[in-house]
Structure formats: structure tokens, C-alpha cells
């Protein structure tokens, strides 16, 4: 369980976190979704007691991250954003080191890491610095798990990792969650949001929304249309002039057009484009993705008291 109440943090003039509050339940897989610089790392470092907040409070399974920091560290596993294992030690030596630091052995908690570690065990005598990106990530997760933590904090574990390894990684997180481990994971990949139980969208130090991915998609407040066209760039420029439209963005091979609820229908959007000379187009209503929600929330100017 993680409780965050009104945490704020500044670096000089830059506000890293602005009164952030959230709670993560036991055995929940909670995703912190946002781009670089949104404040994800600052929040995680505060929870790991590696950084002091300017104000507010946070507890991990009831332990205060400032006053009980030593105990917090014993019950948490942490995978920092940057690869932070010892590159000159082998795979096995790294794992053994982390086990020893926490007063345990690889054997004692092997069951926890078995699925993950087995994949890199054939390379256990290789130096960690010589591993590929996907393998480094598996080793880092094994090291974060070896002391049987109750809570896992994973800072962008899938950044820069290819689509296949990312998929495998999320399958591993699902299994850990099923073992009862509480997981807070951050990612800049919006498509990974749907794999979490609940997510928080974070931007410029503020949580814009917290909900299940399903609820977030369902509560998309405006109309969303998929526009298919042969000339994506051209059609998107035309749609920017559609009266009162909210946004138009490319999503792979199609455009997503957002308009205020109830103003347009398929026919009226098609007509607008045909009048502008676009003939080979199709318009259909679409379900929002987390990325659509994020873009919409980003476009709303922040309210300041």
C-alpha cells in the first residue's frame, strides 16, 4: 500500500511536483503515465527515501518515507530509470551482492525471480555491462526482487526497450502482482497503460487524472472520430480549420479528430473535407485510447488558484 498526500517538490524555480496525492492498494499494478520531465522520477525517488519532499507526506505499507526510511528500504524493491547495477560484476555476482546486502540468499527467494532469472541464467558468468538492453532489464528486476519486497517501484523499466521485450516484461509484472506484490511503475508509452489496474496521468508535476484505464477511456468527454485518408498530412492541415474542432492528431495510419460533444456527425465532417477538395476519405466514430485522453488533458490550460 502506498499513500501519498500533498507531496510537493521544487528544484529552484522549477516545480517538479505540485501537491500530488494518490493511493495505491495492496497487490495493485499502478501505472504512472507521462512524458519525460513530468515528475515521475521525483515522486519515485521521494517514495524510495532517496529524495526529501519540500512538503506533504507519504507512507509505504504504513511506514513514513522520511522518518521510517530505513524500514521503508527493507520492504521495497527499486529499479531506477538508469541501469544502476555493477557493470564489472557478472550477472550472478550482482544478484548475490544485492541478496547479501539485504541479509538473504539467492536460494531463499529463488522462487520469486525464477521465471525472470531463468532467461538470463545461461549468461550468469557474463559481466552485467556486456548484456543487451532486454537482459539488463531482467537482471535489474531480479536484483530488485531478491529480498522479497512487499512493494516494487519501477522507474521507466521499458524505456528504449523493443516492443517484444516490453510485452514480456509486462507479463512478468502481472505474475508478480498475482503473488501479492504492490507495484508502482512509470512509463512514457501510453499503450502500456491498459496493462495496469489503475493509472495516473502526470504532466508538469500535476496528476491530471487517476482511474482505471477502462474508466478513463469511457469518460472521454468529447466526440472522437477516426478519419482515413490517403494524404494524412494534408487532411490534418484541413481539419485544423474545422470550426470549433478541439484537436486533430495522427495515430498510425489514421487521424483522430476530436470535436465538442454533439456538434458534428459523420456526414458533416465528410462534407467539410469534400468541400475542401478531399475526396478519398472516410470518417467513423472511434473509441478513445489513453493517448487521446492524455492529449485532451494536456490541451486544457492548468487552472491556478
Amino acid at each position: 500500500m502506498i499513500e501519498v498526500i500533498d507531496i510537493h517538490k521544487r528544484y529552484g524555480d522549477i516545480v517538479a511536483l505540485e501537491k500530488v496525492s494518490l493511493s495505491v492498494k495492496k497487490a495493485e499494478l499502478f501505472g504512472l503515465i507521462g512524458p519525460d520531465g513530468a515528475g515521475k522520477t521525483s515522486l519515485m525517488r521521494i517514495l524510495m527515501s532517496l529524495l526529501l519532499p519540500d512538503g506533504g507526506s507519504a507512507t509505504m505499507n504504513g511506514l513514513d518515507v522520511v522518518s521510517d526510511y530505513k524500514k521503508v528500504r527493507l520492504i521495497t524493491g527499486y529499479m531506477p530509470g538508469r541501469f544502476s547495477l555493477y557493470p564489472d560484476l557478472t550477472v550472478e555476482e550482482n544478484l548475490k551482492f544485492f541478496a547479501t546486502v539485504f541479509g538473504t540468499t539467492i536460494q531463499e527467494n529463488y522462487h520469486l525471480i525464477k521465471d525472470i532469472y531463468q532467461q538470463i541464467e545461461p549468461f550468469k558468468t557474463r559481466r552485467a555491462g556486456k548484456l543487451s538492453g532486454g537482459m539488463k532489464q531482467k537482471l535489474a528486476l531480479s536484483c530488485a526482487l531478491i529480498h522479497k519486497p512487499e512493494i516494487l517501484i519501477l522507474d521507466e523499466p521499458t524505456t528504449g526497450v523493443d516492443a517484444v521485450s516490453r510485452k514480456e516484461f509486462w507479463e512478468m509484472l502481472k505474475r508478480l502482482k498475482d503473488m501479492g506484490i504492490t507495484i508502482l511503475v512509470s512509463t512514457p508509452y501510453m499503450d502500456e497503460a491498459s496493462l495496469c489496474d489503475r493509472i495516473a496521468l502526470i504532466q508538469q508535476g500535476t496528476l491530471m487524472s487517476v482511474a482505471t484505464p477502462q474508466a478513463m477511456i469511457k469518460s472521454f468527454p468529447e466526440d472522437l472520430w477516426t478519419v482515413r485518408t490517403r494524404k494524412i498530412y494534408n487532411t490534418s492541415k484541413l481539419l485544423e480549420n474545422l470550426p470549433s474542432m478541439i484537436s486533430v492528431n495522427s495515430f498510425g495510419q489514421v487521424l483522430h479528430l476530436v470535436t465538442p460533444k454533439g456538434i458534428y456527425n459523420i456526414g458533416s465532417i465528410q462534407q467539410f473535407l469534400i468541400l475542401k477538395g478531399e475526396t478519398e476519405i472516410s470518417v467513423e466514430p472511434a473509441a478513445a485510447t489513453i493517448e487521446d485522453v492524455f492529449i485532451l488533458l494536456m490541451n486544457i490550460p492548468k487552472e491556478r488558484p
Binding site: P35, D36, T159, D162, A163, N249, G252, Q253, I295, M298
Partner: protein, 242 residues
């Protein structure tokens, strides 16, 4: 407009590190004016290939030209005719926006008058004119990446290589970045890009996918989806690379 005129030709490209074959007989062409997506899992050999095509590494064997220059003997000419941008390192954090532009303009041997004219135009286009004396380190990542791209094409190269240019960038800026790519293409620059965002693979004219040092697929996104019976490029990638 995409022609069939190749600006990069790769024939039987092999690169070995000791016993390890990083690039195992690659064959492909990149056409003038296209956006060529170069995809593959981590460790598939993408970076090795890019380093060779940028004139930074000599291949073991093969017959390759970039912008008409030979990758064995004419690496300096290659470097003058290409731009390069990576996610990890793009600009000097301790220098200001203006100083970075001046530095890269100098490295590429641009005339001062030309550099000044293009700097003004570029900062205006990016909306960064008011920030020209800001240190790069103080700018948000998205701004940095857009600026780094603009600087990579400041000297009007024939080809620009982009190595994961949008990693970690917010969804709006990521799309603005792709608009900059389209604008560069309209100016006749060929774009060679790697990405882990599969929606961005759809924005490419053609996409190649590498696995274990080989190119296992190369076609337009449309044809690849058809061939692999997939709804999107994400599915194509998972089917091929898994």
C-alpha cells in the same frame, strides 16, 4: 515525392566483431525523398548498421554507398552530406541554444551569412526566438529534440539519420516532431529513422525490420500488414521479432 533514385545502396553488408556477426549480409536501398523506418529488437544490429552508413565504422565486407560515396574510402564526404541525431546525445547541455547552432554550423563548415539566415528562420519556425540565450539543459526534452533535429538538417544534408528521436517525448510534441520530419522531406531530405513507437512505423514510406543481424522484412507498412495479416505495425513487429 519519392523517386526510385537510391541515395543509400547496401549490398551484401557484413560486419563482424570477432566471431559475432552483427550484420549478416544486409541488402537494401533507400530512395531519395522517402522516410525509411529501420526497426528491430534491441541487439538486432541496427546501431551497427547506422554507424557504418554514417561513416563511423568500417564494415567487414560488402558494397555500400551513401549519397553516392563509398563507405570504405569516402567516409569524410559521407559525413558532410548527412545529418545525425540520437536520443541519447544531441546537443551540448552547457551551451545556449544559439551557441549550439553556431557550433554545429561551424562543424559543418557553413558560411556565416547562411548560418545566420537559417538560424533566424529555424528559431522562428520552432517558436524559440525568445529562448536563444537559454542553456540547452534548461529546456524541456521535447523542445530539445525538435531543436536537435532542426540543427541536424541545418546544413541541408541529403540524408538525415534519426536514432530513436522521440523516446520519452510527450504525445503532442511527438507529433509535432513528425511534422518537422514531413517538412524536411518536402525540402527533399531523405529520412532514415529508428523508433520503438510502432504507430510511428506507420508514418514511414517503407519499413525494414531486423532480427539477429538480418533484415527479415522490408516493404511499405500497408503491404507488411497485408503480408502478415496484421491490423497494425505493432502486430507485424510482434509476429516477426518474437
Amino acid at each position: 515525392m519519392i523517386s526510385r533514385e537510391p541515395v543509400i545502396t547496401v549490398k551484401n553488408m557484413v560486419k563482424k566483431f570477432g566471431d559475432f556477426v552483427a550484420n549478416d549480409n544486409l541488402n537494401f536501398e533507400v530512395y531519395k525523398g522517402e522516410i525509411f523506418g529501420f526497426l528491430g529488437a534491441n541487439g538486432a544490429g541496427k546501431t551497427t548498421a547506422i554507424r557504418i552508413l554514417c561513416g563511423l565504422s568500417i564494415p567487414t565486407s560488402g558494397d555500400m554507398t551513401v549519397a553516392g560515396y563509398d563507405v570504405f574510402r569516402q567516409t569524410e564526404q559521407i559525413k558532410k552530406n548527412i545529418g545525425y541525431m540520437s536520443q541519447k546525445f544531441s546537443l551540448y547541455e552547457d551551451l545556449t541554444v544559439y551557441q549550439n547552432i553556431r557550433f554545429y554550423g561551424g562543424v559543418y563548415g557553413m558560411k556565416i551569412s547562411e548560418r545566420k539566415a537559417r538560424t533566424t528562420e529555424m528559431l522562428d519556425r520552432l517558436g524559440l526566438t525568445a529562448y536563444e540565450n537559454r542553456k540547452i539543459g534548461d529546456l524541456p526534452l521535447g523542445w530539445k529534440q525538435k531543436l536537435a533535429f532542426s540543427i541536424a538538417i541545418l546544413h541541408n544534408p541529403k540524408i538525415v539519420f534519426l536514432d530513436e528521436p522521440t523516446g520519452g517525448v510527450d504525445p503532442i510534441t511527438r507529433r509535432q516532431f513528425w511534422n518537422l520530419i514531413y517538412e524536411a522531406v518536402e525540402k527533399g531530405i531523405t529520412v532514415f529513422v529508428t523508433t520503438h513507437y510502432m504507430d510511428e512505423a506507420e508514418y514511414c514510406d517503407r519499413v525494414s525490420i531486423m532480427a539477429d543481424g538480418r533484415i527479415v522484412a522490408l516493404d511499405t507498412p500497408e503491404k507488411l500488414k497485408e503480408q502478415y495479416n496484421a491490423a497494425n505495425m505493432d502486430e507485424v513487429f510482434l509476429k516477426i521479432a518474437r
